[in-house]
Symmetry: C2
Subunit: 491 residues, 2 copies
Amino acid sequence: MSALDAPIIVASNRGPVTFERDDSGELSPRRGSGGLVTALVGALQASRGLWVAAAMSEGDREVVARDGRGLVDMEAYGWPYRVRYLDIPPVTYDAYYNGILWFVHHYLWDTVRSPSFDDDTVRAWGEYVEVNRTFAQALAEEGDQQRSQPVFLIQDYHLSLVPRFLRELRPDALIAHFSHTSFAGATYMRTLPGTIREGIIRGLLGADVLGFHSQAWAENFMMSARPLQGVRADLARSRILVEGREVLVRIHPISIDVGPMREASASSEVRELRKNLNRWRGNTRLVVRVDRFELTKNIARGFRAFGLFLRRHPEWQERVRFLALLSPSRTEVPEYRAYAEECMAEADAVNREFGHQGWEPIEVRVKDDHAGAIAAYGLYDVLLVNPIYDGMNLVAMEGPVLNRRHGVLVLSRNAGAYWRLGRYALPVNPFDLGEMADGIATALDMPADERARRARGLSRLVLSNPPQRWVGAQLDDLERVRRRRVVVHVS
Amino acid sequence: MSALDAPIIVASNRGPVTFERDDSGELSPRRGSGGLVTALVGALQASRGLWVAAAMSEGDREVVARDGRGLVDMEAYGWPYRVRYLDIPPVTYDAYYNGILWFVHHYLWDTVRSPSFDDDTVRAWGEYVEVNRTFAQALAEEGDQQRSQPVFLIQDYHLSLVPRFLRELRPDALIAHFSHTSFAGATYMRTLPGTIREGIIRGLLGADVLGFHSQAWAENFMMSARPLQGVRADLARSRILVEGREVLVRIHPISIDVGPMREASASSEVRELRKNLNRWRGNTRLVVRVDRFELTKNIARGFRAFGLFLRRHPEWQERVRFLALLSPSRTEVPEYRAYAEECMAEADAVNREFGHQGWEPIEVRVKDDHAGAIAAYGLYDVLLVNPIYDGMNLVAMEGPVLNRRHGVLVLSRNAGAYWRLGRYALPVNPFDLGEMADGIATALDMPADERARRARGLSRLVLSNPPQRWVGAQLDDLERVRRRRVVVHVS
């Protein structure tokens, strides 16, 4: 039996479905979207596997209350896999999720002033450790119930410690961990208290395979691990030796699930939205951005760069509009509210400087609007994706497969997506207003055949990498680990 | 002839002396202090060498005006070496000195908001390139006038491009560059526009030997160079292959010139100051910090940490005082003024929370006061050196050689000095208020024999590494390069 047919156990903070009460008062599952869920659920269904996640909704908590263990057989809903919810107190959940890790991996500190670690940090870290331990214990329990050696696929920075805790409970387990965020460099990781930094790195090193979306993040991880006692990082062969074990460090860029997006794009709702958007744009060109209102997304600099573009290229005034579709994010955090206000002020400043009756350069729409985004993807001439740091960035993939105008992707070199799509995008430094302004101009002035060539290239790259391949590559890695272990045992 | 006897040509932004008009109206040189000047002047004198620097004072500019070339034979003042001043316009000087490089190497950006590179950046970079080219041309000219192959010792981040420009003019030159600042990691270096980042790295790679104060900065440089086309970075052997040349990357921590400091400490002025300070402290213990009012020095967090220490360890209230001796720095820059105000507000907050008549926990003295610092070094029980990032930090060396109370050094792990002195200091994470607070408590509670052991260790490490050794190590490296080249030519 190979790792590929083994029963798979997935762990992630957010599960593949969320239970909510429907109109009849019954608890029913709402399925999450995106490539990650599609890929992992596909693999789970093939092996009748299990997905362990934190309870998110009140409905999820009711599911836990029902049998104590939180186990749901999704067979009842037509899907041959199971989900187990862990009842983690919301406060804990918030402390570890919105806590320090997101900030450090995305270089978000204002180092002269933040971070300042204190007792609250110690408490948040303690809770993070607890949550990770809870996950590891649940995974070990579920692993024990499988007839054959299970395969664990642990997701993201919320669960960095799970590989190590799980390894302690099941030394023979086959464990992969995947980081969906960027990973900070060695010096920047040292902003963290030593216990936390070393805890996270040694936590991850409990895995057999560590996955990242781009080489930059993989290298940063290896350089952070390198100085730790008893760790040998072999950069050339992309592996780490620790405690007599070998940990493979691998780059597997995830992609998106194109099918449902194309279906949505063909729906009457989106067709109507596209019609409205086309009326609204008139005969101007269209620059689009689609993002959560998130510190990492570089929204304010995007508006300033657009202003600089209009200043440097006055011939484009009145002939182009910038549509920003922004969904609210972490509005309970003061830093996020302040940032959202700054972004709106930047857009206003550009509109005041260049706009006049009949032409407002920037329009910002703040709401959760999936259909609106799908419609805008169809119509952009330029898609601006300029995060300061981003593990991957799926907007850079969604746009090109739905766009109908051979629109140009202006892409930050600090998005993981750049590693895969860079050669067909116009790359920009997200801190360089001049380069972003010129990127927009170059995109708008690009000859049609060059635009077409790049648009086709982007679309091809996305389509040639279905989400199943991402999970398959990780299972292949684990299979290689399993075979090597057998050899070692035999010899 | 070995590199050690070759005529040495030093280049640095600031020269070893500054010319000022004395009371009689004559231009006369004022010698700079510190280990760097001592070490390099020592080496220059041995070889009757030359130091090339930017004119700083009006007096320096007059020297340049006198003969156009700006050459001064210091023999006239009793020192057997020469200085050549380059007349660089002050505006240019400011743009490249206070510009972006200091910020990037010390991780000072508030990445969500700064930097935002634009036309001003392009202009500042252009001026930086010009200044570096001016230096390289002057160095090549001077080199051509030497009878034998000269040795160039280029100093610091102001002159990152000089090695390459000089190499183009003198392909056979023996060139060492030393970075006195920290060096940013590969991902953080990518905040810079590509031209600037690559320009700096390739500029440095023009040297034969690149020196850093600590392994962290050397590794960061190598990882930043690694992805560049045509560059092969060999981390294990700490060298880089580029354009058929080998560049050695070396760690040579500089030290201080102890003699003059001990003399100053024994002067009647400092004796008097010590007496006053002793009266002022009464029977309390004394925590001291000595710093420029600089964003990197972490002064505000130091005060907050002291507040946390008093909260966690109320038994120390009224029994300890914190004396901060801060010299003004870059007061023309708004960010620096704002930071200075924030620091004063933090000190005030601690004094309001804990102070009362007869006991004010923190005293801040803001002025240039070398004698006052020497006096305070003699008397501290705890010396707090907690920069967020610092190439080396000489306060961490000056204190221990002058202290008379077996005072304890609480030292940031992000100071280059930590690499050399760490084992005898109490190491702290400069972002961790809790660890700094506990560091102060541990230092104050430390048994006398343990304090003595550490104080002796620190003093011994500093004394065993005179500044001459720092320059000697670099000349040894260059001698090795020279010998290898000869072998290559013969074979």
